[in-house]
Amino acid sequence: MRKRLLSGLEPYLFVAPLALFVVLFVFIPILGTVWSSFYSDVTFLERRFSFLQNYGALFSDPGFWKSLRFTLLFISVAVPLELIIGTAFAVVLDLEIPLRGLLRACVLIPWAIPSAISARIWELIYNYSFGLANFLLAKIGPASPPVNWLGTDFGAFAAVTAADVWKTAPFVAIIVLAGLQAVPRDLKLQAKIDRANFAQIFFKVTLPLLKPVLVVALLFRTIDSLRIFDVIYVLTHGGPGGATASVSLYAYKYFLGGDFGYGSAASVALFLVSFSLSCLYVKYSGFTEAAS
């Protein structure tokens, strides 16, 4: 009897450490943030329960909508680029080519560099007076005045996106590469015998089988890109004129100003966006069936 009880508990015991980790480091902080968003929690004012007041102020602030618009626009440009470039890398790295191991390691380098540092590198590329981009432009391009890369809304947006894609496409490449290795070789061989060309094999055989892996990559990249902070903090600090302020940067500035309730409300709003996007992905991608 006792033995059976124990064996019934066994699966739960195996899951327990992970569950404990998730509860401690994910659920409790999220609940804490939600809880704190219901308070008027400003260091220099009396702390009081204000329920949805922070959300009212948040939703009526054009600055918040501007930062949300930027963030959504950013993920809708950056994430597809990361997926396409990352997948292309993975396909190349999956081929039987010389120095494959070395190439695979090289592709990982941008991912291994901390974002704050890679953002500094990009800052040196974009720099107006001594940046690499303007240097190359002067060397090989037509004689023209140097370009102020971060000076326009579009330029700053493109600069931030490029820096982020450069850094995170390798992450996608690694996930997809793992997925490619799980694609049975005989299926590809079969297609080859049926005289399918490279593109046909890729789009008709490989890609459908890669779908679950791509959904995972998409999910990770979307969630991660939604909270983009470090690249922007270093590169533009939200400029010019607030054009590249992400929601995380927006919330951070309120935390710094001592308004923890409002900053929490902005963080919760971002969490809700990322949670609903994740739900949509999981629901419409057939991810759960594919995984089981």
Binding site: Y128, S129, G238, P240, G241, L256
Partner: protein, 425 residues
């Protein structure tokens, strides 16, 4: 499994071992490595003199990160850090949060504030009738100029008005460009950060700026609009300031630009002087300083900056902390501060010290400028006000918003911030 168990037993022990430190005072301060080393020697000297050990909690140079590193333990009511340096702009927020001890009470005897600038202590360090901070070093915006170039092109004096600065810049820029295509007339801080607000207050002059009328902080005024339009025109119309003014130009970028010999005029804080005069600097002995120009001559304004020392409300050693503060502000340490780091001490008597004047002859000029420096609005929610201003000022300088519209939009946001945090006060 066994090693896991061991770890589980050891982990709490490890944590308690880490948290059990000998009783010592913790002083949070950030800066460049040589500055932190300086503070370490001050702490060692202090220990020798008093037997009280002080641990330097080393912080980064970035001022946002320094604030974050102090704000979080204070919000969590931690005993450490006991003492910390604050940017002058944070004092109202920290004081209104009740985080700063009354320094008159903490040491047992009232602090003698006579050696410091009265205008600075009265306007920045007193909050609600209490002395909540004291200046350690002071800053104010200055105009740096190239003595050699002014002389070469026949100008006897640095400009007193912005109009003169424009004229001189245009002439000299055109002439020097023949040899150096990267040369510009005037470099200043225009990136989206606190610096653009400081510069804006100086361009706005004595008649403009952020004044309070009937309890309302006024940003959208004709004087401010004129100043903001001028800031934009410096870049896009007169083209005497580089195009990256509004994307990259912060203190250090401006300082390096001038130091490389690429600018005739520079707006910066006094710290740049020592670096311009350092060995190997291309502008060594070619640089002069003077008060910033104004639109009508003598209405020029310098924004007051600097770092002030405060004592945490949650400190468990307020007496020792008060002694340390007294030590940091003693003439001996303040003198070392200026001799070793080239900083501008907060004590006026250091500026008349022959030994200091020998090393820093420019100190005699700085004294006048500090006398007239103007602080930023002393509001606990200044961060939010500044955030709105930074965004819209930067948008106007970059040409994305018209100056009038930018100030109107900033005003709207400032009103909302005041409504939210000040209850209309």
């Amino acid at each position: 499994m066994k090693s896991l168990l061991k770890l589980a037993v050891l982990f709490p022990l490890l944590i308690s071992a880490c948290s059990k430190r000998p009783a010592e005072l913790v002083f949070a301060v950030g800066g460049a490595p040589n500055e932190l080393d300086f503070w370490e020697t001050i702490a060692a000297d202090f220990r020798e003199e008093t037997g009280i050990s002080v641990r330097i909690l080393r912080q980064p140079t970035d001022s946002d990160q320094r604030r974050q590193g102090i704000l979080i333990p204070l919000k969590a009511q931690k005993k450490d850090p006991d003492v910390f340096l604050m940017d002058i702009a944070w004092i109202p927020q920290f004081a209104a949060s009740g985080w700063l001890q009354d320094l008159d009470a903490a040491g047992g005897v009232p602090v003698d504030t006579a050696p410091f600038w009265k205008n600075i202590v009265d306007r920045s360090d007193r909050y609600g009738g209490k002395l909540v901070a004291l200046p350690v070093y002071v800053d104010a915006g200055l105009l740096y100029y190239r003595k050699d170039l002014l002389k070469k092109y026949g100008y006897a004096k640095p400009p007193a008005t912005w109009k003169e600065l424009l004229e001189i810049s245009a002439v000299v820029q055109a002439a020097v460009r023949k040899d150096n295509p990267e040369f510009y007339g005037f470099a200043w801080q225009g990136a989206q950060y606190e610096g653009i607000v400081c510069d804006f207050l100086e361009f706005a002059g004595a008649k403009g700026g952020l004044r309070t009328e009937n309890g309302r902080l006024l940003a959208a005024t004709p004087e401010n609009e004129k100043a903001l339009a001028f800031m934009r025109d410096l870049v896009s119309k007169y083209k005497i300031s580089p195009p990256n003014t509004y994307t990259e130009m912060k203190e250090e970028e401006v300082r390096l630009f001038f130091q490389k010999g690429n600018a005739l005029f520079e707006r910066n804080w006094p710290y740049a002087w020592g670096l311009h005069q350092a060995d190997g600097s291309p502008v060594k002995d070619k640089t002069g300083i003077c008060p910033l120009p104004g639109f009508a001559g003598p209405d020029s304004v310098s924004t007051l900056g600097g770092w002030h020392i405060g004592l945490s409300k949650y400190s468990d050693k307020p007496r020792d902390a008060a002694r340390f503060i007294e030590y940091v502000l003693s003439k001996k340490v303040q003198k070392e501060l200026s001799l070793k780091l080239g900083w501008n001490p907060a004590r006026r008597d250091v500026y008349g010290d022959p030994e200091v004047l020998k090393v820093h002859p420019h100190f005699s000029q700085l004294r006048k400028i500090f006398d007239n420096a103007v602080p930023r609005p002393g509001l606990p929610y200044y961060t939010q006000v500044s955030e709105a201003l930074q965004r819209h000022l930067n948008a106007a300088v970059s040409g994305n918003e018209e100056p009038a519209a930018a100030l109107e939009a900033a005003q709207k946001e400032i009103d909302a911030v005041a409504e939210r945090y000040g209850g209309g006060k």
